[in-house]
């Protein structure tokens, strides 16, 4: 009977901590939010299940956690032994080394239609304005005592772009990766809750009623030239964004070249789905209570909320500023889509606009700053990486 009782001592019930229980409840909440509210389900379900899996207490000596990594041991005779890691550590490798985010960007590029942006170049600036959220949060994090590298990784939460946030956190502050990823995806899921009050506060009813001109038709050739030219323009100035933007514009070229359609289809279906599953699940599994439930994580969550608010305000106010000089006015609600969080924030713009005028269709216009916001936060990440490394 000894073995039985020894075994029971090693079960999860025995060694479960209060923190683990909290994390499991958080994981379940993510899944419920995804199912009942339809908030970013493709990421909240994997992350939620991952958080549950990662917080089952494991037996001492068994290699199960994402943090049980490969080790190399040098022998006295010059031999080197490879000590295998846990299965989850191999899946987490793509997160830790920043491999998954660019592959997700490849798929995003292969599913993104830049037409609305190409027909409305001035709306691109709204995607820049919303990045004020990134840099304001960066300063906020410094004020709260985080190091420069940590502050950079936290700031990028304001970019409202999961893969970008994970990529930069993996490069600048791997120890905060879990908290940053969870914060980024949580707030992206909460975009329909966070943005509307700010948008309404900063705009008048007249502004919200502005109707915008229908965008012009963009030629196939423009769409083909765009990914290559845009890549050159962005990365010659900000080479730190080479990997993320290279993959995104590569995916878009696969789509728009019209001769590589089968590659584009695979990039935006099987490939992005597989990577999304692995990324979401292993990020979730990295949120073990003992490394995750810290004061730092709480601060990160606070800063993340602030960053989304500042980014939204930045986009809206900059649209109002641009209207001072424009004949064809921009509906300032559209500025809120500059935070990216594709396509949720564009949908929020549509929704808030229709609350004033049910016949005003802003969705198409909001897609322009929305995708520009993705480019903008990737550039911001590239700059922060370049400035804060080495």
């Amino acid at each position: 009977m000894d073995i039985l009782f020894n075994f029971l001592n090693t079960t999860g019930f025995a060694s479960m901590t209060f923190g683990n229980a909290i994390m499991i409840v958080i994981g379940i909440s993510f899944i419920i939010l995804a199912i009942r509210k339809d908030y970013e389900p493709l990421l909240l379900v994997p992350i939620g299940m991952g958080a549950i899996v990662g917080n089952i207490p494991v037996i001492e000596g068994m290699s199960l956690s994402v943090y049980d990594e490969v080790k190399y041991i040098a022998g006295d005779d010059g031999s080197i032994t490879y000590v295998p890691g846990s299965v989850l550590s191999y899946l987490y490798f793509g997160v830790k080394q920043g491999i998954y985010p660019p592959l997700i960007f490849l798929g995003i590029g292969a599913m993104t239609d830049f037409s609305t942006m190409l027909s409305n170049p001035k709306l691109v600036l709204l995607g820049a304005a919303a990045q004020i959220g990134v840099f304001a949060t960066f300063l906020g994090a410094i004020a709260l005592g985080f190091s420069f590298s940590e502050a950079g990784a936290i700031g990028i939460i304001g970019g409202a772009d999961g893969p970008t946030a994970i990529f930069l956190a993996a490069k600048l502050a791997p120890h905060l990766l879990g908290a940053i990823a969870i914060a980024a995806y949580s707030y992206m899921a909460l975009v329909p809750v966070i943005q509307p009050p700010i948008m309404k506060l900063l705009t008048t009813r007249e502004e919200r009623l502005i109707r915008m001109k229908a965008p012009r038709k963009v030629s196939k050739r423009e769409k083909m030239i765009f990914p290559v030219a845009a890549f050159l323009i962005t990365t010659l100035i900000a080479p730190g964004a080479i990997v993320l933007l290279g993959m995104m514009f590569f995916g878009n070229l696969l789509k728009e070249s019209l001769v590589t359609e089968r590659l584009a289809v695979t990039a935006r279906t099987a490939l992005i789905d597989i990577i999304t599953i692995l990324l979401g699940f292993s990020v979730g599994a990295s949120t073990q209570a003992d490394t995750f439930l810290t004061k730092g994580s709480l601060l990160i969550f606070g800063l993340g909320a602030a960053s989304f608010a500042v980014a939204t305000a930045g986009g809206v106010l900059f649209a109002k500023f641009m209207n001072l000089f424009l004949t064809d006015k921009i509906n300032p609600l559209v500025g809120a889509a500059g935070v990216s969080a594709v396509p949720d924030s564009a949908r929020v713009v549509q929704m808030v606009g229709q609350q004033e005028d049910p016949h005003n269709f802003l969705l198409m216009h909001a897609m322009a700053p929305n995708v520009a916001g993705v480019v903008g936060s990737a550039v911001a990440a590239g700059v922060l990486w370049a400035v804060l490394t080495g």
Partner: protein
């Protein structure tokens, strides 16, 4: 359609705006440290400089991108005589690499049409066992 992107005026304004923005932040950098408890002046000053730089570069990149996009149709129209749009670009639906489901959809269409024709000519015998 014309004058929809008044590049010269707006461009000047943007440059002004950005430079003002930097000035503002550098001004803050010299002013705030005392009010931030326990934070070294140097750290705060570096931080604001980095943030200002970052925001300027993000704006610079997206302004350039915006100007490029705005000019693209004009450039293409200008070079059109020398590099005409190849005609096959309009025929991509017939491209051999079109995805797998197409065949099955075509098969479905064919099957339905066949069944319909059968139905309308009154011979409904064997179709039920096709699949």
């Amino acid at each position: 359609m014309h004058r929809r992107w008044q590049s010269t005026i707006l461009c000047d304004l943007l440059v002004t705006l950005i430079l003002d923005c930097i000035d503002l932040m550098l001004f803050l950098a010299t002013f705030w440290p005392a009010s931030v408890t326990g934070l070294l002046a140097q750290t705060w000053s570096d931080g604001t400089a980095i943030a200002a730089t970052g925001l300027v570069i993000v704006f610079a990149v997206l302004v350039l991108l915006s100007l490029f996009i705005a000019s693209l149709p004009k450039v293409l129209a200008f070079i059109e005589p020398w590099f005409p749009q190849p005609s096959h670009l309009h025929a991509e639906t017939a491209h051999p690499e079109s995805q797998l489901p197409d065949d099955e959809v075509i098969a479905a269409i064919g099957f339905v049409l066949h069944t319909e024709i059968m139905n309308q000519t009154g011979s409904t015998g064997s179709t039920g066992t096709q699949k």
